[in-house]
Subunit: 184 residues, 2 copies
């Protein structure tokens, strides 16, 4: 089994990646640590491209900031009809099932993907194609919203290889797939 992909995402303490209205304001609850990118740039160096769903793509567009990605972004959507003109050389629509999408992207020369968004992450976890997950915890209890992890048919095991508490109160854990361990 080939597991070339990686996750880098922030969740609330109760496991939500967005609140009940789809908002991500909780990400700004704590001031960011000074002179510390929490591993983001090192992570970006290790991937070839990003793959996100329509909701994540629209959330990024909604931030109203300059396009933040220096690597190609593939948007996996069955409903989105086009990418905004100004991003035509930076973001690309892909359609089809997981294997088709992965093959389309690989055929363009991109092997290691940064998976973003709940549905994309869940799909790749279910297909057991995720090598590592870096999960930053914003330690707030939202009480409801969009969950990072969903229902899965086949339990899988990871191993925590790094766990950090930042001065600002946030935390981060890095998990790698533990292929030699079977969940009980």
């Amino acid at each position: 089994m080939n597991r070339p992909h990686h996750v880098f995402i922030a969740t609330s303490l109760d496991g939500y990646i967005a609140d009940a209205k789809g908002g991500v304001g909780f990400l700004d609850t704590f001031p960011m640590p000074e002179n510390n990118d929490m591993g983001y740039y090192a992570f970006m160096d290790r991937v070839d491209a990003l793959l996100m769903g329509r909701k994540s793509f629209e959330t990024v567009l909604g931030f109203g900031v300059a396009w933040p990605y220096t690597k190609p972004v593939f948007v996996w959507s069955q409903t989105l009809s086009k990418i905004p003109m100004e991003l035509s050389e930076k973001a690309f629509l892909v359609r089809g099932n997981l294997l088709e999408v992965e093959e389309q992207i690989r055929s363009k020369g991109f092997e290691h993907l940064y998976l973003d968004g709940g549905q994309v992450i869940q799909s790749f976890l279910q297909a057991d194609k995720v090598a590592s997950m870096t999960i930053t915890t914003i330690p707030v209890l939202l009480g409801g919203g969009i969950r990072l992890f969903g229902s899965m048919v086949n339990p899988t095991a990871f191993r925590c290889v790094r766990s950090t508490a930042y001065e600002n109160g946030m935390a981060q854990q890095v998990f790698e797939r533990a292929i030699d361990i079977q969940p009980k």
Copy 2:
């Protein structure tokens, strides 16, 4: 606001404290680290008594091992009619709402409680009476089960004060209530 209580619990990576059948076999997925109690005894030293729900109580009884607690255990249940005779000096039924239960236990001289079980923990979080939570992550994705955190009306903020990756692949984070921070 008085927040004298503490949580010490293990969850799966996707936030479950029991699987879809109520089982906790996943807790044994990883061999325990050698000569390391993961903070359990130091934690127990800081509390006066335990408060758990009926399900947690029955889960402990179901383990078929010697009674594991050296401090009084209060079982918060509206349906359980009695405690097994052999535990009559170690475990005690309490009834009523949260404030009544807390007052009954306090009147016996126990101030700082180790809160155990999803419903008990959620009730005390909702009442904002939890000072700290030590959450051990068993890094498996169960895909379904009984969640540690439930719906909450009032979002609350914590702060991660310690984050540890153990050699065996498990992880632990300690959170303290951040009363000066408001979730966004």
